[in-house]
Symmetry: C2
Subunit: 140 residues, 2 copies
């Protein structure tokens, strides 16, 4: 699909490149630094365009990302979503939410409720780096 952004580009900083999927950290969500995406490599528009075995493998990755995210960041809540209205290529968002983040408890796509707390995100940087490392190591 030559016009599909996720066929042409990685979609973020690649942490794991598997034969069937890749795990990236988003670089385009400044209010939510702990945003990861599990992207199916082959072009598929809808979740049910994958077969059951592919879906199971993809969700295993999503669950593992969530588990490591919880372990390293202790977020208030983890948000999972597969939308694809703009880029209709299967990808799961896994986002760590904190009760102090700019939008909580609203979804990340809603209007911000408060300014980004740069100091708290800065303080979280070591743990964010640990999570990146743990994710990379898990599939190494």
């Amino acid at each position: 699909m030559s016009d599909c952004a996720l066929c042409q580009d990685d979609g973020g900083l690649v942490l794991v490149r598997h034969a069937d999927w890749r795990l990236v950290r988003a670089l385009d969500t400044p209010a939510f630094p702990a945003t990861y995406r599990v992207i199916w490599n082959a072009h598929a528009c809808e979740w049910t365009d994958l077969n059951p075995e592919q879906r199971e493998r993809c969700m295993d990755v999503v669950a593992r990302v969530e588990a490591l995210m919880r372990q390293h960041l202790q977020p208030t809540k983890v948000n999972l979503a597969s939308l694809g209205n703009v880029v209709a290529h299967v990808h799961w968002h896994v986002v760590a939410r904190f009760d102090w983040d700019s939008h909580f408890p609203a979804p990340v796509w809603a209007t911000a409720l408060r300014p980004i707390d740069e100091l708290r995100w800065q303080a979280a940087r070591p743990r964010l780096a640990q999570l990146d490392a743990a994710l990379t190591a898990h599939w190494a």
Copy 2:
């Protein structure tokens, strides 16, 4: 969890009531009449609070809802999400999106881009009813 809305209430119009989960159609999303929720009956905050076998069963339901939604509504895109920032009790949103809906291609939680097209939703009513019936029949 006496203070959890999804422990106290069904969370919508119940179409299927299974031992472990229920399928409801949302009644609180007027802009998105084709919004379904797969709700895990037992209280669990995060997706990874379910064990792998429970997650697989839950996602099988989500996928089946998506498949029947595609068959009956032919939406532009299906949106899947498990957020739970307000009600931290595992539930999946399965939402049929259309390129003419009030928010497309923005997420349903973003600011509307245009008015609700009541006439088109009214025209879709027979298919929405067919989808309800097909979902109910599938697990009957």
